[in-house]
């Protein structure tokens, strides 16, 4: 086993002491305490290890250690057919499975030259936006719990239950759907689905207002999140941030608008970007605000889709799916707007086989989390919890 002696902040040495023992050595200043916010911790949102060097309550360095949930997604992709990869994309970001499948379908369809029926496009957008709302509810609820507000979490989950029942009705599963297939859908939506979704939207609009008043406008919550973890816009872009993180730093960038796919160009919605009146631009409160305001926009999108959707006379969701999915030779980088940012798939195909040569998932959380080390310097320990909560990571996507 080689010794990698690397210079830089926090030099690390990896040595193998014996057959079963590997030692990872880090230099430690004597007054600082090494605190492992270990893989098991209530507020790291999954199995993430943050090794913090603390000086009292102030964190001098917090380094994330990943890989606890690595399930070899990319290696699997090279050994199975294109349609069989769809369930694996669900399991990456398990809170927004529909959006992940959507991104993958868009990437492969670019290489396929297939014409997607209009009704399929609208259904895809409806389930993707429903899943976006569900994902944001989890993000907001768990952010409240991290800061000590236990009740908004339960309100969020009560409403998320309605969404999960709707998605279960449409696809057969509550969380890991396998619904959006390459070239179409696995099955059509049930007959009354649109009516029920409209009822849900009408029920949910006042609940959003109540949630806003309970959590977002709460004085203590604002004090805990305002001015914490500020990320300037140009640094955020350089770190590769996207989605609500980038919009929270004041950059008006949404892939649904700037690199549009599916029927989003026909839909009317705004991209919320905080302007510094209620929060400081780039802080945790801005990022939280973006997610809270995006829920309203998603509701608007769903209503428009229900109105514009063509009827189901003679509709077969699998009509456009070729018998064997054999994309032409070439490469593609296709991306979509995940609730957490930009989910991109770099797919390399050799034109002859039904399995991809290389399928890399560019996950939003992985890139968002890489800024953690610099963002947490000099913060207090409770503020570290607030920052992690505002990044909204899902370890399934970070580790793939």
């Amino acid at each position: 086993m080689q010794e990698l002696d690397i210079a830089g902040l926090g030099s690390v040495r990896v040595t193998r002491k014996s057959d079963n023992v590997v030692v990872l050595e880090k230099d430690l200043a004597t007054e600082q305490m090494l605190l492992a916010m270990g893989p098991q911790h209530p507020s790291t949102h999954g199995v993430l290890k943050l090794e913090c060097l603390t000086d009292g309550e102030v964190i001098t360095e917090a380094e994330p250690y990943l890989g606890y949930l690595h399930r070899c997604f990319e290696k699997y992709c090279e050994n199975i057919d294109y349609p069989a990869i769809v369930p694996y994309t669900d399991r990456m970001d398990y809170l927004s499975g529909m959006n992940s499948e959507f991104a993958y379908a868009i990437a492969v369809e670019k290489l396929l030259d297939v014409e997607i029926p209009r009704r399929v496009e609208f259904i895809r957008v409806i389930v993707a936006e429903l899943n976006r709302i569900a994902s944001h509810l989890v993000a907001i609820g768990t952010y409240g719990i991290d800061l000590g507000a236990f009740t908004p979490f339960l309100f969020c989950f009560r409403d998320r239950e309605h969404i999960l029942s709707l998605l279960e009705w449409a696809s057969g599963a509550r969380m890991l759907y396998n619904y959006i297939w390459i070239g179409g859908l696995s099955q059509d939506i049930p007959a009354d689905f649109n009516k029920r979704v409209k009822e849900f939207v009408d029920y949910f609009k006042p609940q959003v207002v109540e949630l806003y008043k309970l959590l977002t406008e709460n004085e203590i919550f604002v004090k805990r999140t305002k001015g914490i973890g500020i990320m300037p816009a140009d640094v955020a872009i350089n770190y590769g941030w996207s989605g609500p993180m980038l919009r929270g730093s004041g950059v008006k960038w949404d892939i649904r608008r700037n690199d549009p796919y599916s029927v989003y160009p026909e839909l009317d919605f705004i991209v919320p970007v905080p302007d510094g009146r209620f929060s400081d631009v780039g802080d945790c409160l801005s990022r939280h605000l973006v997610r809270a305001l995006e829920i309203d926009e998603s509701l608007k999108i769903i209503e428009q889709c229900i109105d514009k959707m063509p009827g189901s006379q003679g509709f077969n969701p699998k009509a456009a799916i070729p018998k064997r999915i054999r994309p032409k030779a070439g490469e593609v980088y296709g991306r979509a707007e995940n609730p957490r940012g930009e989910l991109g798939f770099y797919i390399q195909s050799d034109g002859k086989s039904t399995k991809p040569l290389r399928c890399k998932a560019r996950s939003s959380c992985f890139v968002n989390l890489s800024a953690m080390k610099d963002l947490s310097k000099g913060q207090l320990l409770p503020d570290l919890v607030a920052i992690i909560g505002s990044i909204d990571i899902v370890l399934g996507e970070v580790d793939r």
């Binding site: 605190l35 507020s43 009740t151 959590l215 203590i220 805990r224």
Partner: protein, 372 residues
């Protein structure tokens, strides 16, 4: 025990007399020269605490939080889950008592004990009615404020003895919080003592009795009495580590703060001590500002409600009701508000509550000297 000369109570007086006679008899009950009667007498508040903590404390918290969160809470064990807490206590009793191998054994074991003792000793000076008080000290209020500080030693012992960095964080934060918030709490209570002119808890209650019911309570006797009342309420939340000041046991940051490593009966001790101190501060605030065991109902013309609802046994009912009301408010606050960060907590204490406490002290003094 104590005899109180409240001669204007009639029928309830008889009940009180029997209560007094009964407690006198117990004092004399000393088979084989052992002071068994006194022990039984001293144990009554402890029994009350245990029963209250089992029923209202834990069960009430679970049910109240459930209803606030749009769910049902415990429903399976007993009708509406009433026996849930009993089941939990039985479970905790038979759990393995783990002492981590690298823990400092003496401190680890002593911690919950000292915490428990500190919380329960204050019950000695709480007057449960005109006829029943554990120890009628003439510095009762001072004793009640002071004895709670023993908790700090227990918390430090528990946190350090666990040999766990997260527990250490929790206990250090808790000590800082409790020690700082004692100051505005004490000053606010001093305002109440100023209005009474004495530190004796029983006399403070007697001074708030009268035929107009709640109009005699100190809260309504002075135009700025609401200020020390509010200050003491907030400071007492910090004293018992309740949200929004529960940073020492911040569940989402420190798992369980200073009692992360405890299991079984030790954990139950700490838990019960927390609920006991919740009731204690509620009782203190209702004694000093809201009349303690006095009835709030006034005598309106023909309906002499005050006379009908006052008495030694009625007194127990009133003080417990008022205590439970404040506990309900504490639980309500816990499940609504996020928690304050450590430095915001300290800022609130030293830069907001303490100056206001001093201001209220001066204003109360002016009112007492020049107006009354």
């Amino acid at each position: 025990m104590n005899l109180t000369a409240l001669s204007h109570f009639s029928i309830p007086f008889l009940m009180g007399n029997s209560l007094n006679a009964w407690s006198e008899a117990l004092v004399g009950f000393a088979p084989m020269g052992l002071p068994l009667g006194l022990v039984i007498l001293a144990a009554i508040p402890l029994v009350f605490i245990a029963v209250y903590a089992l029923t209202y404390g834990v069960y009430g918290e679970r049910k109240i939080s459930a209803f606030m969160q749009d769910r049902l809470g415990p429903m399976e064990v007993g009708k509406w889950g009433i026996l849930q807490t009993l089941a939990d206590i039985l479970k905790l009793l038979q759990k393995e008592d783990i002492v981590t191998s690298s823990a400092d054994k003496f401190l680890f074991v002593i911690g919950p004990g000292v915490l428990f003792v500190g919380s329960f000793l204050a019950y000695a000076v709480l007057p449960f009615s005109s006829a029943f008080i554990g120890a009628n000290l003439n510095v009762g209020l001072f004793f009640a404020i002071g004895i709670v500080s023993i908790e700090v030693v227990g918390i430090l012992a528990a946190g350090w003895g666990s040999n766990n960095k997260w527990s250490l964080y929790g206990s250090v934060r808790s000590v800082a919080q409790i020690v700082s918030y004692e100051i505005p709490a004490a000053i606010a209570l001093l305002c109440g003592a100023m209005m009474a002119g004495t530190l004796d808890m029983q006399k403070i209650n007697i001074l708030q009795s009268g035929s107009w019911g709640f109009a005699h309570f100190f809260l309504f006797q002075s135009p700025i009495a609401w200020l020390p009342f509010l200050i003491y309420f907030i400071a007492s939340l910090a004293e018992v580590n309740r949200a929004p000041f529960d940073i020492p046991e911040a569940e989402s940051e420190l798992v369980a703060g200073y009692f992360t490593e405890y299991s079984g009966m030790k954990f139950a001790f700490i838990f019960l001590a927390e609920y006991a101190s919740m009731f204690m501060v509620s009782a203190i605030i209702s004694i000093v500002f809201l009349g303690g065991w006095n009835s709030p109902l006034p005598n309106i013309g023909y309906f002499s409600l005050n006379d009908m609802t006052n008495g030694p046994v009625w007194g127990v009912f009133w003080i417990i009701t008022k205590g439970f009301f404040f506990i309900f408010v504490q639980m309500w606050l816990r499940w609504t508000l996020p928690r304050l960060r450590v430095d915001q907590l300290m800022y609130l204490c030293w830069k907001v509550l303490t100056p206001f406490a001093f201001v209220s002290f001066v204003l109360t003094a002016i009112w007492e000297i020049y107006v009354r």
